[in-house]
Subunit: 233 residues, 4 copies
């Protein structure tokens, strides 16, 4: 058993779970997890086919400096985005980036994802925000780190665990959660509600988001002190 073996196993499993869920083709995606007590994050290596991935391939980095702590491979090229999100979003313990088809279509359309129903509200307590575009200077500069920055900007005034996803305009979705497993669940839910929302608009161009009361009721059924969904822990 190597260093941070438990975290690397969970990150490996998270990466495989998004493939099994149909969110990823080729190598379009990456999943990370953080161990804030140990001061590290673990992430998929860049461009390695999923069928060959093992826990030892998962790269571990210092959460502050971004230096590689364990793992021989080059980490995902999106690593600076993950680091920026762990730095700025309190309580986040897992992050999933995919190019899943419907969430990517919303991101490419430049629109936030409206909350059209309770499936959405079960996971996201409001619309999933879309980022602003990066400027030409930002694209030419620390592009991946600044991608994290525009996500954080888009979440201004929002509790990241009550709205655990954002759409990077012209790019695709990032989702997160308190741990890797919740991040994966939110990424899967995001793709499902992105699909249903697209069809909702085709069926009814006048569709409006659901009311605050219904949205809060559903979100709080599953989250927070009054939750009564799932088994008592």
């Amino acid at each position: 058993m190597g260093i941070h073996a438990g975290l690397r196993e969970r990150v490996l499993e998270g990466n495989l779970a998004v493939v099994r869920a149909g969110l990823v083709v080729l190598t379009f995606g990456n999943v990370s997890g953080a161990d804030r007590d140990a001061g590290v994050m673990a992430i998929k290596p860049s461009g390695v086919p999923y069928e060959h991935l093992t826990a030892d391939d998962i790269v571990v980095l210092d959460l502050e400096t971004g230096d590689v702590v364990a793992g021989a491979a080059r980490p995902s090229s999106d690593t600076p985005t993950h680091l920026a999100l762990y730095h700025e979003l309190a309580g986040v313990g897992g992050i999933v980036h995919t190019h899943s088809p419907f969430a990517t279509a919303w991101a490419q359309s430049g629109r936030e994802l409206p909350c059209y129903g309770t499936t959405h509200a079960d996971h996201f307590d409001g619309p999933v925000p879309v980022t602003r575009a990066l400027t030409s200077d930002e694209v030419a500069g620390d592009y991946e780190g600044l991608t994290g920055r525009v996500i954080v900007e888009a979440l201004e005034g929002i509790d990241p665990l009550e709205r655990p996803a954002a759409l990077v305009v012209s790019h695709g979705p990032f989702a997160w959660g308190a741990d890797v497993e919740q991040a994966v669940e939110n990424a899967i839910a995001l793709e499902a509600v992105a699909a249903s929302a697209a069809w909702t608009e085709l069926l009814s161009p006048q569709a409006a988001p659901i009311g605050d009361d219904l949205r809060r009721r559903h979100f709080s059924r599953k989250h927070g002190p009054a939750a009564y969904y799932g088994q008592p822990s």
Copy 2:
């Protein structure tokens, strides 16, 4: 073999069947069955991953009082909706709730599902109704029980076994049948016709529901005293 073992096995199998049919991702759904002679219903526990589900996890409740009769887990949070439907809809022996993508899109669009063809008529003898929205007071109150109430309201004047589904506005579909197996079949058929109906409208915005004569002919081929579909029982 535990108490109500046969019913719990059938309810377990029904829950797994809707996953296999692609109607459910994550834990978005629940299937129940009733044994009216024994005065009980059995339902999936809340938030338990499908891959771990066993017949012993299925919770059995008193059909009148809703008290748990057997099973250690907390029942589905939608249990009061199921109880309300068993109370009010005569002859119903199984209920399926999913967030299947196309039926959910229709529910989120706030529209009833028109009968555009014989696939629909083979299962539903008319449009699948959509409920009214719950009021703010209803959302804040016995939300799940009142969800059952608005479904019953939407079925006013309709034989529930001739129109074995409804769309809860802003939420998703409920389907039912004389037993668990027929409820599962109707839930699968509902998603299929919801998809075909959406595409029918995209291909022909002037599409109109089929005539009463063709709809009745198809429904009665499969249901009722003159049925000639399937094998003699």
Copy 3:
């Protein structure tokens, strides 16, 4: 080995092939094959789940009279449609009826399926015709036999092996071929081109069918005396 064992095996395999290809959910479909020399057709029994189907369940009928020659089960309720097509369409040796989602949407929209590309032309030498609606009297009468009649009407002036499918309005597709295997291939191709055609119209509302020269070139690459697709037989 029972009577007509070879034909029944091929019809069994054809029924399973359309399920594997995703054209059928539940029991929405039926495949038949004819042995014109023996004067019989063989077809799926009505409403039997595919996972339990064996060659012995396949029902054999006299091609002229429709009397059951072999098989204990009740034949598909659509048997009179198949019989009518074998009677009227020379050279047809296999027939497939499904409710595959995109072809059904075209049928429900009441529109013929235009030939928007070479995938279509490889199988269908022109638009796939849509039938007229049956009258109320026809629906109340020999409904399934008259469904065959309106298909034959829609093919007036068309060689059925050059246009081996039709859309029954408000119902769904029938496809056919010189034998069971070609009928299955045409049913699969029909669903694929129905999907691409729907998206073609969404991407370009002004899309027009391809020219006669390109369509004939592709159809005759695969069919007829000048065919040069596939291996020499």
Copy 4:
């Protein structure tokens, strides 16, 4: 081990990979690979079902003359298109032709595929071009060879490895790469971005292609001397 066994194995695997990726139904597709040093290309035989395909079935042809060098079967009817592309497109070592549903819909709509996001830019450094239609004389003449010609025309002024795909109008996509494996990857990416682009337009009819700076940044992350995606080779 027969002649050109390595190339034939890779071409076999490429043909199977596009089926596994869901790009091909029936026998709608063909994958080839070239060994320019040996002066040969290898391609799928015409119309052979994928489940029976072995490396020995893969046909090897002289890259200049098109004469068969090895293999008993008739090569794909699209062989002249592949030969024309290898002749005209420097650096191309693998070619994939499919009728994948979304890329085919774009081809049938007669529209180039706009670059709406970074998934597209990761593989194609600009819109995927669409060819002009062939004239009636061209359709009646060396149809498959001239299909290669119009692809080359559509790429005028474009580095084929920076824009490794084209849409043949009224027909479907061709993709390519420096070798068979990259051609397969580009074909899979093309279908994914064709789907997301279609939905992008449905969600936002005013959607515009991404800027040159973002597109170049993403393409050069994965390709060329400054690439930093994937593992160092």
